[in-house]
């Protein structure tokens, strides 16, 4: 009797100890980034300490008041939101089709879409560069250094992921629901928008947020396929590393700023995460 109670108490202590340790481990690098962003370049030479004694606000005001940096931030926002919207809508259509029609070869198509995410990126930069600068062009206009170019490109890794995620959700919505609505005289479109979309909402939300995060954070392709006008915040981060000294303080400040938008989104969809991430493997 007594041992059982002790066991229970120990269990609780263990649980909290685990989570507190984990929280510290999770937060430490991010906190350190913030600490670095609070220091001037000379202060960074001091012996490392985790305390913030003074705040060197110029690390933030500098980039934030710089029009170039503002443009990077806006580009990132447009590209990430644009890509997330596009991916969510395309994945909705695609998975609805895959789940409701018996299309010949559908499972092979499904696997093929996923393989798009597997390619090691480095070697694919050259063909993409050529496509974007020479193949897809109308007069002088090319996809290179445009926001729409990156929005399309990020579909390569976001769309497969989204299709997989949404396929499970779609399969989980019983076909009878569609059929009942159709019997009531609703068109296919109405069914999709009025019936399926609300039911698939958690999946759509999680698809949207994950696509947004991936697109917001991508570096290599953004660096290669943009030049001046469509550069994103992550490529801006790399610009702080120079031969004449890395401006770690400003870089950390920019990194801190760049986390915020994704974080805001994430907090909003927090409670849908758990219901949305099932990948169709387990259904409710």
């Amino acid at each position: 009797m007594k041992t059982a109670r002790w066991r229970k108490i120990l269990g609780w202590i263990g649980l909290y100890a685990l989570w507190i340790a984990l929280t510290l481990f999770t937060v430490l690098p991010i906190y350190w980034m913030f600490v670095v962003s609070s220091r001037s370049r000379v202060q960074l030479f001091d012996a490392p300490t985790l305390l913030i004694r003074s705040f060197y606000i110029q690390n933030y005001t500098g980039p934030l008041s710089d029009p170039v940096f503002q443009r990077y931030l806006l580009n990132s926002l447009y590209i990430a939101v644009g890509n997330a919207l596009l991916v969510t809508v395309l994945a909705l259509f695609a998975t609805y089709a895959l789940s409701r029609w018996r299309l010949p070869g559908a499972d092979n198509i499904f696997f093929w879409t996923i393989t798009n995410r597997m390619a090691p990126p480095a070697a694919f930069l050259l063909p993409l560069f050529l496509l974007y600068t020479q193949v897809f062009r109308i007069g002088n206009w090319t996809l290179f250094d445009t926001q729409i170019g990156l929005i399309l490109l990020y579909c390569v890794f976001n769309l497969p992921f989204a299709i997989w995620l949404m396929k499970g959700i779609m399969d989980g919505i019983p076909v009878e629901i569609d059929e009942a609505a159709m019997v009531d005289g609703a068109s296919q479109w109405t069914v999709l928008w009025r019936v399926i979309v609300p039911l698939a909402a958690p999946g759509l939300a999680i698809t949207f947020i994950l696509s947004l995060i991936f697109a917001w954070n991508e570096y290599l392709f953004a660096a290669t396929l943009t030049s001046v006008n469509a550069r994103t915040i992550t490529t801006g981060l790399a610009e702080f590393v120079t031969v004449t000294g890395t401006n770690w303080g400003q870089m950390a400040a920019v990194a801190t700023i760049s986390i915020l938008p994704a974080l805001i989104f994430l907090v909003f969809v927090q409670r849908y995460i758990v219901t949305g991430l099932t990948f169709g493997a387990v259904k409710e």
């Binding site: 393989t115 480095a122 570096y219």
Partner: protein, 291 residues
Amino acid sequence: MRSNRLGWLLLSPSLIVLFIVGFLPFLYVIWVGFHDWNIFAATRGMTWAGANNYRRLVFDQDFLAALWRTLVFTFTVVTSELVLGFVLAQTLTRQFPGRAFFRTIYVLPLVVAPIAVGATWRLMVIPGFGPIPYFLERWFGIQYRIGTYAEHAWATAVLMDIWHWTPFVTLTLLAGLSAIPREPLEQAMVDGANRWQVFRYITIPMMMPVILTVVFIRIMDALRVVDEVYMLTNGGPGTATTLIGLHIFRVVFPKTDYGYGSAMSLLVLYVTIVMCWLLFVALANVGKQKA
């Protein structure tokens, strides 16, 4: 019955987009992979090389070592993340005060850009500027040098990946766990099964599809890690953390050996596809048995 035409119509935008930005470059890479093409060679442009790049590849010690290193890395991080993620997901199925708070904090790493993850960890572990080597040396007398000791760099890279991706694994497993029906569990308990037996014979089999899915996704992504390690160690010390993605990056970028680099990419893609396809088949079969 519905006509297939609408189905194809709905599917086609995705297929077209993937064809343009995914499949066309893939064809081009295959084409380049059969050529000798180095911008800085004395002979300009592409020359047909047949399968010679692949002949070179299967004997290329650096490449094979990097590939093997990547497989070890992938195995290490995916197993750790899976075990850790499972334990954490289990604790999260219980209601306890502060659960939502912990969970929210816990997903933070997911939103940090890989390049920023690399930079942040580098800032933490560079001797002289970062707190980790400083405090390790002061408190425990341990000399932590990611630029000198291969094991330190490797451990940091593994830890960084675990830090970055365990939240994702945990959340997905949690989604799976919370969808498991309770009846079989309760029934088993009534029948006198102990906790381990329930876990082993009921929870694990029911979770198998989720586990396989997570493993699939993590393997796919871990095999192509570049940004984080590029920022953290740039593959050093020596070649200790030169994962295959970074190795290819070096061959294609600074060395501008496009032909050979393309062949490498395709071989890695081949390995990835085969591994993932096997998992995929396993996934389909698990589903069948259950159904």
